[in-house]
Subunit: 383 residues, 2 copies
């Protein structure tokens, strides 16, 4: 039989991105994924605010500086209600794209993963249930007294983590902290990592120089010997409340269940912290207990180096979600592929957990995120 | 062979109390116990304070009126730490016996049941992680405006309950609310139950007359037709914040997992509330989804009638723990058998859950409670 002239061979299907990526300690990452497949996760988003985020030019986690004040509360609300209460839709990037909360919401819904919110210290409280671990936001890290109650936050986080470990087969710990990559950089440097130029950003053009200058200002107040004895001093001086709380959650839980730190270089700082805390106690952390799970955009971020940070700590697994918006018909979502938004609200870890729980493909995840995006109220990210 | 004269036959073993009691809808209660056996529960203690508790003569939940202010916070702390932070040991009865938190602590430890604390509205905040659902304590019910935000507490509780249902095979919902049997009486009366003389008390001599006079003063402000349309009006007028929050938790969760309301007649008020809420919505609550689990002391309380209250609602199961201190060598614990302390902090429900989870006998529970009791700091219940 001869094909008619009008017949064209079908276009070869666009190669689908894999659901899971293995970016560091790949064999260990694959083994962890195999161990968690089908298991029941619990997702916990820890929110916090700092005065560090008020330094102009550091953060794009919010459409305007005024709206940035609402970002952690709005993200927490969006996780419960599907969109925020204190603003329309979800927190957005100044250039328009919706924030990463839509990914987290979609992934948790798709796989029916339960979510809890931890408030480690906020000015604007979410209109949603939150586990209060701290009462005050962080100060500006330049003063060298960013989180005076770091030890208390850690201890309460530890207690809570020990209980939450009884509620699931593993924990996925995300965050929403504007300005958090700067406090991450400062804590990584305080803990002795070669971190300059390696942390990610909520902006496409990563403000490395400003971040480093800001971090160095805070670090001038810090005695490295004191940090070696007590790594929480790094957070107390130049960190943010989320770091202490999530470090506590992770170490409180990881004796009983595996823990996925859901984020990019902010979670590298938390990993560095738990690694240092356990080393200071003389019982090194087993790298099979804690891993990082993040997005493709963080893993491919040309302005940052997550794997290079983790490699300085040890063979901790870094997993990624293959989720891509390249094939999306929604222009604001396609901007993710320009690295305009990369991570936040545990988006990558939630996507990884959804793929592990129900076998969600990257395409199915994308379609679910698109549905969440279309259902958002108009005037996205405005009050 | 002839027994030597010094031989005495061994004393017959003291008959051990059964681990579980079935006090109402016994067949349904047995079926529920069979369904939950071995399953993984999550225990949630909701704390709240009210000005109603400040009326002299109503509550013995605390060694003195001053210490009673600390009771909900101290109970929450004791669940996390084994004893309170804001006072020594656990809240105690004015006549000496340690409060029921020791039972809850023992049961949860024995069966490794995870615990979370919900704060529905307190003046004294616990030094422990708590999920904040409300910011203000309840007013005195005599004014008829006891919980202005009852609807908000209910809604946030519902949201949270829907998430927590994904964290366990069933939920056990306890409370610590001084003065709570008076707000329970008022809400039961507001919802149309024949409750006078039927609620329990933290005191051996139940102050029925004072409770009823107090409740009636609040009820004078209430329009029964409004309550029929919206049962939360009963809580808003004459209840306490815990009732609205736990009703939300229960209805948010019970579509997915069974819910045990862990308490005595205070939980009868919550049951009456969720029953009425669902009836007002035109979709009656399935009595297999929600049950009450309490202590032997509540079930045998000569001054109250839990089963008589539940019978007015429908065939809801009431389970009890067989835990008894009759055989204890600790005199303060034996005072429970005089009905000096009966229930609180979800003690009965936690004990039931421990028996269901690990098959703990009443005797093993007693021995575990005794160990918790002996480990308490001296000067029990003092600041």
């Amino acid at each position: 039989m001869v094909a008619s002239p009008s017949h064209r061979p079908p276009r070869p299907p666009r190669p689908e991105p894999p659901a899971l990526l293995y970016a560091h300690a790949a064999r260990r990452a694959r083994a962890l994924a195999a161990r968690l497949r089908g298991k029941r996760p619990l997702f916990i988003c820890t929110i916090a605010q700092t005065d560090t985020a008020r330094i102009p030019g550091l953060s794009a986690a919010g459409a305007t500086p005024e709206l940035r004040e609402l970002t952690p509360a709005a993200d927490a609300e969006a996780l419960y209600y599907g969109s925020a209460r204190c603003l329309h839709g979800v927190p957005a990037n100044p250039l328009g794209p919706p924030g990463p909360a839509i990914i987290t919401i979609a992934a948790l819904r798709l796989a029916r993963i339960p979510v809890l919110v931890v408030d480690a210290g906020t000015r604007v409280r979410p209109q949603a249930p939150a586990i209060r671990l701290g009462e005050v936001p962080g100060a500006c890290l330049t003063g060298g007294q960013a989180v005076p109650d770091a030890a208390g936050l850690y201890q309460r986080g530890y207690l809570l983590g020990a209980q939450l470990a009884g509620c699931a087969d593993y924990l996925v710990l995300g965050e929403s902290v504007p300005g958090g990559t700067t406090t991450a950089l400062a804590v990584l440097l305080a803990l002795g990592l070669d971190a300059a130029g390696r942390v990610s950003s909520s902006m496409a053009a990563n403000a490395h120089a400003l971040k480093e200058a800001t971090a160095r200002q805070g670090l001038a107040h810090l005695d490295p010997a004191a940090v070696a004895r007590d790594p929480l001093r790094a957070v107390a001086a130049v960190g943010d409340p989320m770091q202490a709380a999530v470090a506590g959650l992770a170490l409180g839980a990881c004796g009983r269940v595996p823990v996925l730190l859901a984020g990019g270089t902010q979670m590298a700082a938390v990993l560095a912290l738990v690694h240092a805390l356990r080393r200071a106690e003389g019982r090194p952390l087993d790298p099979r207990r804690v891993a990082i799970a993040t997005t493709r955009w963080v893993l491919h971020d040309p302005t940052a180096d997550l794997a290079g940070l983790v490699a300085q700590l040890g063979p901790y697994a870094v997993l990624g979600s293959g989720l891509s918006f390249a094939a999306s018909r929604h222009a604001p979502l396609r901007r993710y592929e320009d690295f305009l938004v990369k991570e936040g609200v545990g988006a990558g870890g939630a996507a990884v957990a959804a793929s592990l729980r129900v076998g969600a493909s990257a395409e199915r995840l994308r379609r679910t995120v698109e549905r969440v995006y279309r259902a958002l109220p108009r005037a996205n990210g405005s009050p």
